[in-house]
Amino acid sequence: MSLLTVDDLVVEHRSPGRPVVRAVAGASLEVNAGEVVGLVGESGCGKSTLARAVCGLNSVTEGRIAFDGEPVTPLGLRRRKLTGIQMVFQDPYASLNPRRRVGDQIADGLRTSGDTVTKPADLLERVGLPRDFAGRHPHEFSGGQRQRIAIARALAARPRLLIGDEPISALDASAQSQVATLMRDLAVDSGAGLLFISHDLSIVRLIADRIAVMYLGRIVETGATAEVWANPRHPYTQALLGAIPKPDGLGVLPAELPGDVPDPADPPQGCRFNPRCPHVMDVCRVKDPDFGPVACWLHEPSRAHTP
């Protein structure tokens, strides 16, 4: 059984005076222990909402999220039993408490897991920072260092599933791949699963075993990273990979995907990608392809016999 099973998840955002937004509209995903899954997609496609729902930070409208077979309950004020899922947030400037020493914040995680042996300094060492940083406050660190501290704090609770919600996008460009690789190594070494959310495809390619591509609240394609990279099948994945500029010195502007991301409050009929798809067929406008691993009528399982 997989560590995390997300089954047909629907998450809706309701705000007064606005139409209901289905940020996640029937997404299914699995993460196994020791596996790194990269969740990619454009901003606004619902990746972060999915991650927050897995942590219990967003309430689930429909569908199921199971962690080790147990349903994930919404996070409340009461003491939480489920500490096996830990999250590293996007902005380390906002996710660390500015008034507390970083060692104390890491100690919170250690207390959660009932660990009385490990010292906060040990965790700082694991994320590649000097031991004596434990007595300092967050403002004394750069963005990359803060994110390492946030990772140390998440790891202190001994998670079996680590979630990174765009953990590298607030960092300086050169620190991004270092922090991403560090997260991967630490998660895999401790046998935990890692759900890594990023819009940066080159980083995801570097660290993920499996990749899941999300578009407008749906997972449109999943597969082994190398396979998806070499042979993207969903037209959206193809467009996404085609948009990465290549350093060949030829001055070729990357291909642009026509049209805009539709409003998630009013998604198009049928396949959600159909207004922007270059291979659109009649069936796409009418019926939603609700199958995997490639949710596209061109790759319907009964026709293409793909695993």
Partner: protein
């Protein structure tokens, strides 16, 4: 020559950040500035606009069409900043004011620099929002930055920079925080504006793919010095400097370039 930087040296607290940078931007051309972080790419951009941190000592020359910017009085420099020379920063979460509507932020400097009326500024702002592909530009005008996603915020920041039709645009990692599909659009937009309006662009980026897509000239920086400058095709295909070669070799795609796509 729109903007010429000669022998620019910057030191902060006795530490040399830039050790003699020479660059020249021409109208209608995109000049890419590559290098690792800490090499001084961003500082070069900030020095042009006089935005260096306190206590920075600057020598050398930054000339905008014959005018020396480094010694310009504050008042005149303010006329240049945002008007003739505009900048786009990497992180749109901090470069936009959280308490002002984006419409206000789009029109404020436009009215100041161009002296246009409220209605005209608004019409232009909406047009710019459409140009950078913000869905529902009319409604977006009255919203606040927190109501947009990171990618959209950066597009707004670019719209703000372009609002006064600057001659020189300094873009510091403008697409690093964006999705690739949006990045493709923004790069096309930058390239288009550069060709159409004769904008001189200084594109600071670590991403050699982005560099390859839009830059005409490429300069590579290391430890406060420009180690190599030349046309895009030559620098990226036949790098003369060992450092440029090592940057290119470190890319994950360098060996399997053909296998992708």
């Amino acid at each position: 020559m729109t903007l010429t930087i000669t022998d620019l040296k910057v030191s902060i607290g006795g530490k040399d950040i830039l050790r003699g940078v020479d660059l020249s931007l021409q109208e209608g051309r995109v000049h890419g500035l590559a290098g690792e972080s800490g090499s001084g790419k961003t500082m070069t951009g900030l020095a042009v606009l006089g935005l260096l941190p306190h206590g920075a000592r600057v020598t050398g020359s930054v000339a905008l069409g014959g005018r020396e910017l480094l010694t310009l009085p504050h008042k005149e420099l303010n006329r240049v900043r945002g008007g003739e020379v505009a900048m786009v920063f990497q992180d749109p979460a901090t470069s936009l004011h959280p308490m002002l509507t984006i419409g206000r932020q789009l029109t404020e400097h436009m009215r100041h620099h161009l002296g246009v009326g409220k209605g005209e500024a608004r019409a232009r702002a909406v047009e710019l929002l459409g140009k950078v592909r913000i869905p529902g530009a009319q409604e977006a005008y009255g919203r606040y930055p927190h109501q947009f996603s990171g990618g959209m915020r950066q597009r707004i920041a670019i719209a703000i920079a372009l609002a006064c039709s600057p001659k020189v645009l300094i873009a510091d990692e403008p697409t690093t925080a964006l999705d690739v599909t949006v990045q493709a659009g923004v790069l096309r937009l930058l390239r288009g504006l550069c060709d159409e309006l004769g904008l001189a662009v200084l594109l600071v980026t670590h991403d050699l793919g982005v560099m390859s897509a839009v830059a005409d000239e490429v300069s590579v920086m290391k430890d406060g010095l420009v180690v190599e400058t030349g046309p895009r095709g030559r620098v990226l295909r036949e790098p003369a400097h060992a450092y440029t070669r090592s940057l290119l070799d470190s890319l994950p795609d360098s060996s399997t370039d053909e296998g992708v796509r």
